[in-house]
Amino acid sequence: MKILLLEDDEQTADYIAGGLRELGHTMDVCTNGRDGVFLGMDGDYEVMVVDRMMPQLDGLSAVKALRAAGVETPVLFLTAIGGVEDRVEGLEAGGDDYLVKPFAFTELAARLNALSRRRPIAASQNSLEVGDLQLDLIKRTVTRAGRRLDLQPQEFKLLEYLMRNEGQIVTRTMLLENVWSFHFDPRTNIVESHISRLRAKLDRGFAAPMIETVRGAGYRLDAAV
């Protein structure tokens, strides 16, 4: 992926850019908001990582400017502040996701993948398919190899999110935010409890488990492991 990073702290910029390059991405780095707007308009980036605090032009204003200029590249904000209002502000300025520092690198990588993967959901799309797993969005039913699975509402939402991010790692935090709308970290591992129940229903009677736990990162749904 071609990624634009707007970060003024050198150490953090090296850390992020280095890590993403290792994963095979192409990185362009700006140290202030003004340059970021110029580059963002010209270059063809798949996703942008923007620090909120920057000299000359802060991250929020830079993204507002880009959006006003018609640039639709998905944006992930980085910030040291993690208040409720700050996240909402970022989204209102045109951002698509929000990460509070310090963060685990795997968190950043997983979210960038999820962002760049965004395809506009066709109005006609009323089902998701991964391997022999089929999910009907209208009827809210799931079948695997034709056999109907009986899922609780939250298990359904969990499976839907995993299927929309098929083949990519989704972190625990991403699941908490997108499946449960929890913007906090519960001490109890409710995600793990739900995943294990989902697995039990999903894989019972099948040889190939579909949900893989990636240690230190998150979970991944694949067609056939």
Binding site: G82, G83, V84, E85, V88, V100, P102, Q152, P153, Q154, W180, S181, F182, H183, F184, D185, P186, R187, T188, N189, I190, S193, H194, S196, R197
Partner: protein, 463 residues
Amino acid sequence: MPPSKVLRSGAFRLALVFAAVFAVGAFALIAAFNGAVSSYADRTTQEALQAETALLKQQGAALGQAGLVTLIKRREQTARAEHYRYLLLASGGRRLAGSLPLGVARIGSTNISLPDAPEADEAPEDDDRDGAAEVSTVRTLGFRLADGSLVVVGRDAFAMEDLTRWVNRLTLWAGVGIVLSALIGGYLIAAAFLRRLERLNAAADRIMSGRLEERLPTIGGGEEFRRLSASLNAMLDRIEALMGNLRQVSTDIAHDLRTPLTRLRSTLEGIPAGASAAEHRLAHDQALEQLDQVLATFNALLRIGLIEGGGAKARFSSVDLSEVMERVWQAYQPAAEDARKELTAKIEPDVRVTGDAELIAQLFANLIENALAHTGPKARIRLSLGKTADRVEACVADDGPGIAPEERDKVLRRFYRLDASRSTPGAGLGLALVSAVIDLHGWRLTLSDNTPGLRVSIVAPQA
């Protein structure tokens, strides 16, 4: 109290304004009085003249011209005390009697300024030293007799003029007196007010320079001063509470974060020289885990601080509380089952409140986690939500060990751990956050005995 300060004060200026208004009013009153007196004097003089005129007419008709001359001469002598003066002219214009100058010889009324005729017993040298005789205004009334002679009667307004002069002098002195007393009175009042306010200011300075437990004195002077003192004291109460909070957090942080940070440091320090890659890996993972714990505590503290700051209030909206509690309940169901505890719920649908949905979700999540952490196996935890006419009541109740009455308000503080739970993991911030969210929303939280167990109930107004 330096005079310049008093003169510049608002109280003094106000006093001056009042003095000016009062002075203007007083002047107006005296002027009106003056006017009334003048017109009374005028009227009286006119009436007297007319009476005298009528009398003379009558006598003239009865006595004839010669008799009238005698009468007038005699009256001039005797009536001097009453300040009457006369003039009798024959039809040809020859003066027959009287002391008025010929200038007043006309019919009808006139006023004329004349030097006073000397009193009967006065010598001419008794005039004023500067040679000018005293002058007064004489009002005259003239009429023609049947035989063609002209009679003019005059009366001077000496007494009235005296009175008027006296009233004017009074006005002047009164004016000066009013202004002086206004200035002095205003100064004294302003000085008194300033003294009171200075006491407040001095106390405030003392408090701000470190003696935070002191409060402003009552300074009398009326209800508004009492209210001012009371409001300022309430503000000071709040400041003291906030500072107390701050102090407590600092000590708590020092105490409760030092341990995991120390552990973290020793993990990293304890990697032996020449350790294998696996040992490095292990220490690395452990260190990360410990660091994450510390970060989680910091984040929670920051969160609580931000909530207490109150910024989220601006984004409050109507929240479906039933939906939030259902969501949180179902989120924790599997985890509760895994812990072999029972988590049930009885949630009335369509219950709405005003607030922040995210914070409310976190509030109930924390209460459930608290119940899960502090109850034994086979515990039963129950959520409930119901509404009355205007209020909403939500409950999280468990049948665990509960919290002793004397600890109930302490547990809502940061880092407070009941001795019984000191060994269980968790930084002790869960209930502190609950408390902060409750305060932000203006709701009421009560901890009570669930006989057995803990019952947490929240009362909120309906949206």
